[in-house]
Amino acid sequence: MHPHDHTTKAPLVEMKGIVKRFPGVMALDGVNFELRPGEVHVLLGENGAGKSTLIKVLSGAHTPDAGEIFVGGRKVNITSPQVPLDMGLRFIYQEINLVGEIDIARNIFLGCEPMRLRTLGLVDKSALYSRAGEHLRRFHIDLDPRDIVGRLSVTQQKMVEIARALATDSKVLVLDEPTDVLEDRSRNDLFEMIGRLKHDHQVGFIYISHRYAEVYELGDRVTILRDGRNAGTWRIDDLTLDEMIERMVGGRVSRQYPDMQEPAENEALRVENIVSGKVLDGVNLSLRQGEIVAVTGLMGAGKTELGRAIAGVDRFDSGTVFVHGRKVVSKSPAAGIKNSIAYLTEDRKSEGLILEHSIRDNYALPSIGRLSPAGLLKHARINREVQEYMTGLNIKAPDMFTPAGQLSGGNQQKAVLAKWLGADCKVLIFDEPTRGIDINGRAEVYRIMEELLERGAAILMLTSDYTEALAMGHRVVVLCRGQVAGTFDRGSADEEDILRLAIGARADRRREGSTAK
């Protein structure tokens, strides 16, 4: 099948003018997308651009606020996750979704086993295994249908999952970063299978990936989303890697950021050769007093893991942490705080605040030792400090006894900040400090960070927002697969430079990508 044929066939899936609003965020703002038979259509975009929201609209996990969806030329109203399944759409997510304890054949036909004496509910075992065997051969998967799924390799499981998705003659397969769990050499097997399926069976693939080399290897067309809108759709050969990156990040309006003072000379934090499983592979970095170092990278690059390791939240295998020149070992968050390292989690609602408890009690949590000398609570002192921070940070709430869960996202984040300001740590690790916060809330968070610097703190800011990293960081450290891919000084880089390092490619990587193995 020649790629040019795609344009002549009726689309398998068509999404027109899809709008999806979340409180305070326009996740999708009139997005169009189209998938034709026998093509691999790549969906690209930065974190938060709207890729997964679009897929969730198609899968029935989200109901769109506006827009139309056509499957096989017919308009459909996706009211539940069952609707797209009935229409022959299959979704394969990052995590393997099979029953590990039973064999391949039973997994493939789970819920639609061939039956003998239907009323008695007896499974026709010989039919089950012969049909599963045929099915595997059809897709050139060299496995015994009687193998227990839990004993297969991750790649084999992924292939079984795809085979299962296609057991019912599905015509559309949505793959969300399928290769993230695979090792490099086994990706080839998967790609070969995808290639056969699209040519021999005219299956259409929606393919989401952060790996740009794959995009050229596999894709026929690419649609790029930016801030919830279409940046455009191209044939893959019409777009160079540089153009692709430019369209993902380019032309964005600038936001309001405070002016930063120069940091002091003395070092607040130094991290040497941190290794943790497969996630962190020898990370080195340093941070001066009064400095913000922004750590950025793609999802899964190891940002959060790095922050949690430094603060003692998670254990790591080897490496050393120094705070103000003194070697510290933090085996728990409590020890981290004693060593003057605070970790402000990205997940405010389940890890940052006790939602049922008041702003006041949340505030006192990390500084309770200071606020209860000899074990006795100093209620008056706690109340006074909380009142000061609520005024100083402009936390909008009826009073300090308001449960944290009743605050807006921005005010919750300020409550978290108050909590850690009270703990008075020298090194603060902010994980995605402005995620889910509107523009005004962001500006306030940035202002508080600046204030912290003036009080002698040092901030390690973990962020997937490159614009934020460039604007707020005195330096920007880019992580890629658990290693520091590079460091930029303030003003010496733009979003494209970061993205290039983050994806582990140099400017000329495009050709290397498809040949290097």
């Binding site: 705080i337 009690d361 030792g369 006795l376 609570l377 209620h379 909590k419």
Partner: protein, 318 residues
């Protein structure tokens, strides 16, 4: 939780209103209930449950659950009984060390519960269910072939042989200590925090395991103390004591308005919950309602109390 006295008072006032309504109901309907003796009766019979439930309150606020305390009471009864029986100098040891040993046993079992739950990851429900059977079995073993009575005067004082001032003071002391612990100390603050959200507390530097284990230990200590008071009051020990008391204690705690899921509540409310249960039992007895019906009605009251609490909470939020 601690700081907002106003909300606490409102919540306690609601349970108190329930208690007053129940008492008034019986005062109007039952002539024999209308005596001072009835009031002292209710207080006497509430002592052991109040001590036990005070410990249960701590465990529930910390986000835990302890089903073993009823059996721990039975085991502690048998320990105290076997150490102290025979008043003519035949007792194994004198009162003070025997009581101390019994208390240590309760504390120790609580510690074992807590450490097992926090370090093996086996759910609290399972660990304390197992301990419930273990402690009951140990109690039966200890009691086999033993006559555990004939206690010395020095021990019987604890249960009220010289007036109920002594056991009532013990009860009041337990309640006051736990109330102060919860409201005034770092310990209490952190117990509310780990019950509210263990991960948030951990990330904020609270040594969550240590506090959770301490709550189970104190719960066990309360069970031992309840057993001592009861053994002394009844003047003999039996291994079937405390059967389903762990559930009665949980019932009293939730009637009082402490959350079953941790993070909120208080021991003062639990006392009201205990008094509601005991007033109901006493009042129904006065009206000639049998113990089977009493159980059924208390069951209904537990469900009703939590339901009303939910409705009130919803109203307060909107």
């Amino acid at each position: 939780m601690i700081g907002d006295i106003r909300k606490q008072v409102i919540r306690s006032a609601e349970s108190l209103a329930g208690l007053v309504a129940i008492v008034l109901f019986f005062v109007i309907l039952s002539p024999s209930f209308r005596q001072w003796a009835t009031l002292t009766d209710i207080l006497e019979q509430s002592m052991e449950l109040a001590i036990l439930a005070a410990g249960t309150t701590l465990v529930l606020i910390s986000g835990g659950l302890d089903l073993s305390v009823g059996s721990v009471m039975a085991l502690c009864t048998c320990i105290a009984g076997s150490l102290l029986s025979g008043c003519q100098g035949q007792a194994v040891m004198s009162v003070a060390p025997a009581v101390a040993l019994t208390l240590a046993a309760g504390l120790g079992i609580g510690l074992v519960n807590g450490i097992t739950i926090k370090y093996t990851g086996v759910p609290a429900f399972i660990v304390t269910l197992g301990m419930m059977m273990i402690a009951r079995g140990a109690a039966l073993m200890l009691a086999a072939g033993r006559n555990m009575s004939d206690f010395s005067d020095a021990f019987l004082v604890l249960g009220g042989s010289h007036g109920y001032t002594v056991p009532l003071s013990i009860t009041a002391a337990v309640i006051v200590v736990i109330a102060l612990l919860l409201a005034m100390t770092r310990f209490g603050f952190n117990v509310y925090a780990i019950g509210g959200n263990e991960e948030v507390a951990r990330l904020s530097g609270v040594p969550v395991k240590r506090y959770a284990i301490a709550c189970y230990a104190l719960g066990g200590l309360c069970a031992a103390l309840a057993a001592i008071v009861q053994t002394s009051r009844f003047e003999f020990a039996k291994p079937n004591r405390g059967e389903s008391w762990e559930l009665m204690a949980i019932g009293a705690v939730v009637i009082g308005g402490t959350s079953l899921f941790g993070g909120s509540g208080g021991v003062g409310r639990t006392v009201i919950g205990v008094l509601i249960i005991k007033s109901l039992q006493t009042g129904l007895s006065h009206m000639g309602v049998g113990s089977y019906w009493q159980r059924i009605l208390i069951g209904v009251v537990i469900i009703l109390a939590v339901w009303i609490d939910r409705i009130q909470n919803r109203r307060r939020k909107t």
